[in-house]
């Protein structure tokens, strides 16, 4: 077809804002044209423009309307899909007159266009599924009242603690009775695996690099405070990418789980710090998969690899840091799991629990059974499809992965069949606190069989006001342009975040979760031990789900 040479095109070749996920609602009357919104927009989705406008006006003491065409300053929405508004509402935040805000457009066609250059849509965040998750549908229906008195969350002693580490079966405990008293039989020369007593909600792996310095520091300070001042043994996982060298050599290391993933980023520094460590880490997590992007490796985009990160990770600045989908040196489950667990255990003299983390999958039970037979495996962490990530393809986040509830439940019941449910703790993650119900989601997973529950997105939202949600809001974690300063290495952005405030919020979140967990456990008559696997306490309003989870149906 002939190009329309010499003809000025009209606007018909452009997308309209209606194709986009968010439409900017701008109020000309309220706008004072200060330009803050256009300057602050992280994706340049809006720009100042001039347009000719017909205006009706009247001057003089007697109304005498007249029309005039004037050139006015305006804000226009860019319809290039690469610059499509992400709905973060930073514009609204900076606007002094409430003149602008993005509005969710449910009928958008964004995904039809988000593949420029032949590459798929990449973003950060989580699965864009705003429906109510199974975790939020689970109800606690076994309420103690008269046949067994309910406990008082404020009066009775509660022990909201869990174990992280391989627990010996009672039959193998090296104990002997001497004069009616049990003593540990040192002559038995029995290896007693290391076990940590921790709060049952932990902060999951988010790396230095993926997170900004104030975000990571804030979480770390909050965790240290919870342990040292509040007496809540909360632990936090490092993510792949090492840890600040000073922290590695500090006494606070015991509150951190160090992650090793397929890129081994940061491990030069960790290995160098080993002889100088004054405390052992809480555990070592070997990452094989991530719930948000199963089958993918890690990815830190070049724009986030600034000087600090390149130093900690031992890599040049401004290069994409991709961890491969699998550990390249391993070719089988024996290699990948058994040898790696043993190697990492050996590095710390078998004093540190070492466990793998996998993404939720139908094959989780195969991994589990391999671990159940490995006396050095300290736990299994399963990350469900609703987990979060700093960078991945949209298709991986939205379409790949397994929900955590049934995956965890089948793994737990598999352990029950073998009588090993107390030996190998299960850590469940992925969508915990999706709708803000942190304690309820955690308690539900515990009653389905989890020993520990891991959170990521929730703490970013609760402690640092992350904009992200299941409507694809913001989700700019991969770009280095996080408008909140949470997932960026740009000082101009991360100075928006106060590490002390993040720490304070982290403390508040965990203290509140502790109270709420007691409020759940008390009416169910549980206080002394975590009700792991207490499935008779749960119900759901869907028969198929009830059957799948082995719990009762209630409506």
């Amino acid at each position: 077809m002939e190009p329309a040479a010499g003809v000025t095109l009209d606007n018909n070749h452009r997308l309209t804002p209606k194709e986009l996920q968010y439409i900017i609602r701008w109020n000309s009357d309220r706008c004072k044209r200060c330009g803050r919104c256009t300057a602050a927009c992280p994706v340049k989705a809006i720009e100042p423009t001039v347009r000719v406008q017909r205006m009706t006006f009247s001057e003089g003491p007697i109304p005498k309307p007249g029309a005039q065409r004037r050139v006015v300053h305006a804000i226009s929405q860019v319809t290039d899909p690469e610059r499509a508004c992400v709905g973060c509402a930073t514009c609204t935040l900076v606007c002094p007159n409430e003149a602008i805000e993005p509005e969710l457009n449910e009928r958008n066609k964004l995904l039809h266009y988000k593949n420029k250059g032949g590459d798929g849509y990449k973003r950060g965040g989580r699965r864009n599924d705003p429906s109510i998750s199974v975790l939020d549908r689970l109800k606690f229906t076994r309420i103690s009242m008269l046949t067994d008195p309910a406990l008082d969350a404020g009066r009775h002693e509660f022990r909201v603690r869990s174990l992280l580490g391989r627990v010996l079966p009672p039959e193998e405990l090296p104990l002997k009775a001497v004069d009616g008293k049990l003593i540990v039989d040192s002559a038995a020369d029995k290896f007693i695996p290391p076990v940590r007593e921790i709060f049952p909600i932990m902060i999951g792996s988010m790396s230095v690099g993926a997170l900004s310095p104030p975000m990571w520091e804030g979480l770390a300070m909050g965790v240290a405070y919870l342990n040292e001042v509040e007496g809540l043994p909360v632990v936090m996982a490092s993510g792949e990418g090492g840890m600040p060298p000073r922290l590695l050599r500090s006494r606070y290391l015991k509150y951190f789980i160090i992650q090793i993933a397929s890129g081994y980023f940061g491990w030069d520094e960790i290995v160098r710090a080993l002889p100088h460590m004054v405390e052992d880490p809480a555990a070592i997590e070997i990452k094989y998969g991530q719930g948000a992007k199963p089958g993918d490796g890690g990815l830190l985009m070049a724009q986030k690899v600034l000087k600090l990160i390149s130093g900690i990770r031992g890599v040049p600045q401004f290069v994409d840091l991709a961890s491969p989908p699998t550990h390249q040196t391993k070719y089988s489950i024996e290699e990948a799991v058994a040898k790696m667990i043993q190697s990492m255990s050996m590095a710390w003299g078998f004093r540190v629990p070492v466990y793998p983390k996998i993404s939720g999958t139908k094959t989780a039970r195969a991994v589990l059974n391999n671990l159940a037979r490995n006396p050095y495996a300290a736990a299994l962490s399963i990350d469900g499809e609703d987990g979060g990530t700093g960078a991945a393809y949209n298709v991986s986040m939205d379409k790949m992965g397994h929900p955590i509830a049934s995956n965890l439940r089948e793994c737990y019941l598999d352990l029950v069949k073998q009588g090993k449910q107390n030996e190998l703790p299960l850590i469940a993650a992925g969508g915990v606190g999706k709708r803000g119900n942190l304690a309820a989601n955690a308690a539900a997973l515990i009653m389905l069989g989890a020993s520990v529950v891991s959170i990521g997105k929730y703490i970013m939202q609760a402690a640092a006001d992350c904009f992200g949600d299941e409507h694809n809001r913001c989700n700019l974690c991969n770009t280095g342009k996080c408008p909140r300063g949470i997932t960026t290495q740009d000082p101009k952005l991360y100075r928006r975040l106060d590490a002390d405030k993040v720490a304070l919020r982290t403390v508040e979140v965990f203290k509140a979760a502790n109270v709420e967990l007691k409020k759940i456990f008390a009416p169910m008559g549980r206080s002394t031990e975590l009700p792991i696997g207490m499935s008779d306490g749960l119900s759901i309003d869907d028969k198929a789900m009830a059957e799948r989870l082995g719990i009762t149906y209630a409506c």
Binding site: S144, R159, I183, V416, G419, K420, Q421, T528, E529, M534
Partner: protein
């Protein structure tokens, strides 16, 4: 909440004493059943102590099945006690109640006692499996010198129904439980006391941690850890597991079901290192109450202990040679009125009260002082 009445004595006594003690606690109860476990038997079983006694109830068909089975397995019937029933309003009589002493094939004396116990348990479980589908046969215990009786109804009525006031059946230990049905069906196998290989318990209150405990015990690979028609059955099995299977001294039962919660408490125990390991490995067997547990062990030691919140009543009182372990003090008054009430013991959250065989000595062990 169920009523509990246990008596341990140097002399043989009638189980009616325990039932009358239950009667004093009757107020407000629906009387949904009575369970009795007698140990160290007198009367017509006094001379038969080496022979295992199979206790149960069955229909004509069930008894035929039982006879055929026992004959096929080589058991020889030595003695059969069948109570003469006294019709009582409200109790529907089943066909054949029995307690039968058998001579064991190949004689128990010739092999390890533990192997013999396993064989007896296996026999009982097989009989249970045969009779349970059509409810033609219920068997509660098969063990030397132990007799079990269970029936639905008001305890005093059940006692009279079986003619237990005749004094023909006596024992040195009697555990009696007046059932107050709550969440579980009225079913003979759901009736306390629960007995397994010499270990017996009964409980009041409901066990909120029942499901995880049941799943854990079921995974131990021990065939006797089954049934669980009542949430309270796990208490007997935990006792069996702790003492018989793991070889721990009896008082560690307390550390298993109600482990010390604070490190500061554990640290002051001289066996702290062992306790720390136990608390991890036996974590799924921790009960959360509210429960008062009364039981006995194969040597005839009786005990009472409470859950960690001490939410249920329980009292131990008596004189040398006869002690009562009851859920309410009026029951102790009924069983041993001549005692000095000021010496009564009300076990609290850390206490584990044991009474030595033949009621010679009472010991209160405090968990913090181990």
């Amino acid at each position: 909440m169920c009523r509990l009445a246990a008596i341990t004595s140097n002399d043989y006594f009638s189980p009616m004493e325990a039932i009358l003690a239950l009667e004093t606690m009757k107020e407000g109860h629906d009387g949904s059943g009575l369970g009795l476990t007698l140990k160290d038997l007198g009367g017509e079983f006094e001379k038969l102590k080496q022979y295992p006694i199979l206790s149960g109830v069955g229909s004509k068909k069930g008894i035929e099945m039982l006879d055929n089975y026992m004959k096929r397995k080589g058991f020889k019937l030595i003695h059969n006690w069948s109570p003469s029933l006294h019709p009582v309003k409200g109790i529907q009589a089943r066909e054949y109640y029995f307690a039968r002493a058998y001579d064991v094939p190949g004689s128990c004396a010739e092999r390890k006692f533990a192997d013999c116990e396993d064989m007896l348990m296996k026999t009982r479980l097989e009989l249970r499996a045969l009779g349970e589908p059509d409810q033609s046969l219920f068997v509660y215990s098969f063990y030397p010198d132990v007799l079990t009786i269970k029936e639905v109804g008001d305890p005093l009525d059940v006692g009279r129904f079986f003619g237990l006031d005749s004094g023909k059946i006596t024992s040195r230990i009697c555990l009696a439980q007046g059932r107050q049905n709550t969440n579980y069906a009225i079913y003979l196998y759901a009736c306390h006391p629960f007995f397994l290989q010499g270990y017996c318990t009964m409980t009041n209150g409901e066990n909120t941690a029942f499901v995880p405990i049941r799943e854990y015990l079921s995974g131990r690979g021990f065939p006797g850890y089954m049934g669980y028609n009542s949430d309270s059955e796990v208490f007997a099995h935990i006792l069996h597991y702790t003492v018989r299977q793991l070889g721990m001294p009896l008082r560690y039962y307390k550390d298993v079901i109600t482990p010390l919660m604070k490190e500061s408490e554990i640290a002051q125990r001289s066996d702290a290192d062992a306790l720390r390991l136990m608390r991890q490995s036996l974590r799924p067997l921790c009960i959360d109450g509210p429960n008062c547990v009364i039981g006995f062990t194969p040597d005839g030691t009786c005990f009472m202990t409470q859950d960690a919140k001490k939410l249920r009543p329980g009292v131990v009182g008596g004189v040398k040679g006869k002690y009562a372990l009851m859920s309410e003090e009026c029951g102790v008054d009924s069983a041993i009125p001549q005692r000095d009430r000021s010496t009564d013991i009300f076990p609290m959250k850390y206490d584990f009260v044991t009474i030595s065989p033949r009621a010679q000595e009472v010991k209160i062990w405090n968990q913090l002082q181990g």
